[in-house]
């Protein structure tokens, strides 16, 4: 295995473009090194991105937030403004692994690992997050939901990599939340995950995005679930419609972590609970 | 002679008896005589047995004394974790 630590994204793109065999990018390494160690994916070329300038930065401008590819979960949790504006995204990231994992794991890593159960992905999708993809032809911007292509796969081409993540400005009357179901209190992979992000006009939901993880080959943006609550004050009828829409969107598998029946049912339960938290947060954010 | 209580699974090797009368002043003699009188029990004795004498379970000690009125139970050998 070759190890590279380029000083710029251009250099990283060039190494990746010209690499033979399997290429992996190293930021936090919490998935890449597990796969390397277990002989699941042994890269021929490993490109460490942490020596590139500004990859450790969390910044805000008029467009919203820009989060560098090497920013760890712990650094996000320790950022009070980011946490205030996007508590759901920060919590989702914070749920991944242990304190030790938080010291290394990154949003981009979580996204590019391609796991349908990645905790931060439904939260980012709900938040309307986008990424900048660097490549030979220059940068392009993609929605987070357009990155995963299936378990362990992304839509990035050879020689392409994500160079930054963007969250929109929070704006008034908005709130987000992420919940996952795991059997223990910590350290598990999500059996179901649900991200919710909404905006209120008075007490009524005016905008909403609901996303589910671990219930299909990729994280889902569930428009029917959002439509079930838009224009409502989360009355029982709306909440039940939300749960049904969330469960209906599921296309899960039976595996060691959960059954189809369990995942489908719990997706509805979590959707209601996550939306309720997002709603309460939105009400507090005026 | 000592009355020896076997576990029920051994019955088929003692002609259906669950209690047998065996000579022996200690566990070693008792087990030797048990095999002498009931040769089919040999593999089970060889595999290891514990003997409870008056409620005290002896896992290894063949020298432990047995009195004619002792309560004697044969048990499968104890192991632990």
């Amino acid at each position: 295995m070759e190890y590279h630590s380029p000083a710029s994204f251009d250099e990283a793109v060039s190494i990746a473009k010209n690499a033979d065999g399997i290429t992996r990018f190293l930021a936090g390494g919490t998935d890449v090194l597990v796969q390397l160690r277990a002989d699941i994916v042994v890269p021929d070329v490993l490109i460490d991105l942490k020596k590139i300038d500004d990859t450790k930065i969390i910044a805000r401008d008029d467009d919203g937030w820009h989060i560098g590819v090497a920013v760890s979960g712990a650094e996000m949790s320790e950022h009070p403004e980011l946490k205030r504006e996007w508590p759901g995204v920060v919590e989702a990231m914070d749920l991944i692994g242990s304190t030790q994992i938080q010291g290394r794991a990154t949003l981009v890593g979580n996204l590019c690992n391609g796991s349908p159960a990645a905790d931060s992905v439904p939260a980012m999708i709900a938040a309307g997050a986008t990424v900048t993809v660097a490549g030979e032809a220059g940068d392009r911007i993609l929605a987070v939901e357009d990155i995963p292509a299936g378990p362990g796969k992304t839509n990035l081409a050879k020689g392409e990599l994500i160079s930054s993540i963007h969250l929109p400005s929070r704006g008034e009357g908005g709130g987000d939340a992420y919940l996952r179901f795991i059997p223990r209190t910590e350290m598990d992979i999500a059996v179901v995950g649900c991200g919710a992000n909404l905006r209120l006009d008075g007490d009524t939901v005016s905008e909403a995005r609901v996303s589910l993880g671990a219930v299909a080959p990729t994280a889902l943006l569930v428009e029917d679930a959002a439509n079930a609550i838009i224009g409502t004050r989360l009355d029982d009828e709306a909440m039940n419609a939300l749960a049904v829409a969330a469960s209906d969107a599921c296309n899960p598998i039976d595996d060691k972590r959960g059954t189809i029946k369990f995942r489908t049912h719990v997706a509805g339960v979590l959707a209601k609970r996550a939306v309720k938290i997002a709603y309460d947060r939105a009400k507090g954010n005026k | 002679m000592v009355e020896v209580n076997l576990w029920a699974g051994l019955r088929k090797h003692t002609g259906g008896e669950e209690k047998v009368e065996i000579e022996g002043k200690n566990i070693g003699q008792l087990l030797d005589n048990l095999v002498r009188d009931y040769p089919e029990l040999e593999p089970f004795i060889e595999a290891g047995v514990s003997v409870a004498i008056d409620g005290r379970i002896m896992a290894r000690d063949l020298t432990a004394e047995i009195k004619p009125d002792s309560e004697v139970y044969l048990l499968q050998q104890l192991k632990g974790g």
Binding site: M1, Y3, D48, T99, Q100, G103 | -
Partner: protein, 159 residues
């Protein structure tokens, strides 16, 4: 296979080593630097027995490459006591019988030291969640949590 030349600092000591790109920081600590206090319990970041700090950030050394240590400040369990003076957590773990077999102990001590430096007054729940990535199979965690809480209280009084 070409080796990588790394310069780093471990427990305040300058260290230089060559390593294979596939070697983890844990491999390097144990096999090249003879610091065997960090243990490999899983190799997948699930048990925390290999916990160290890198530039004061708590991480699993099994999920970091040796090559990544270049220019970093590494701290391990071997650097926790100050000469013959044990860190208060170390002393309290002995006093409270907060270890049985002791294999998880180095990782738990490194992790709790990092916690108390960040949060000198944690709640029991905060200690439990902070340590969720440090598996202990012997103690049921009870005496560990008590030792951490009481050390924190004593350190606050002494501060």
């Amino acid at each position: 296979m070409s080796m990588i030349h790394v310069r780093t600092t471990v427990n305040g000591d300058p260290q230089e080593f060559l390593c294979d790109p596939r070697e983890t920081m844990l491999d390097v600590l144990r096999d090249r630097l003879a610091l065997t206090g960090a243990k490999e319990g899983c190799g997948t970041g699930d048990c925390g027995a290999c916990s160290i700090t890198v530039d004061d950030r708590l991480v699993c050394s099994c999920l970091m490459l040796g090559a990544e240590a270049d220019g970093k400040e590494i701290s391990t369990i071997e650097g926790m006591a100050d000469g013959e003076e044990l860190h208060p957590l170390q002393a309290k773990f002995i006093e409270y019988a907060a270890l049985q077999c002791g294999i998880c102990t180095p990782g738990i001590l490194v992790a709790t030291k990092a916690l108390l430096e960040k949060n000198p007054d944690p709640t029991e729940t905060e200690v439990r969640y902070w340590l969720a990535g440090n598996l202990c199979r012997c103690t049921g965690y009870d005496k560990i949590i008590r030792a951490v809480m009481d050390t924190a209280a004593e350190m606050r009084e002494d501060a």
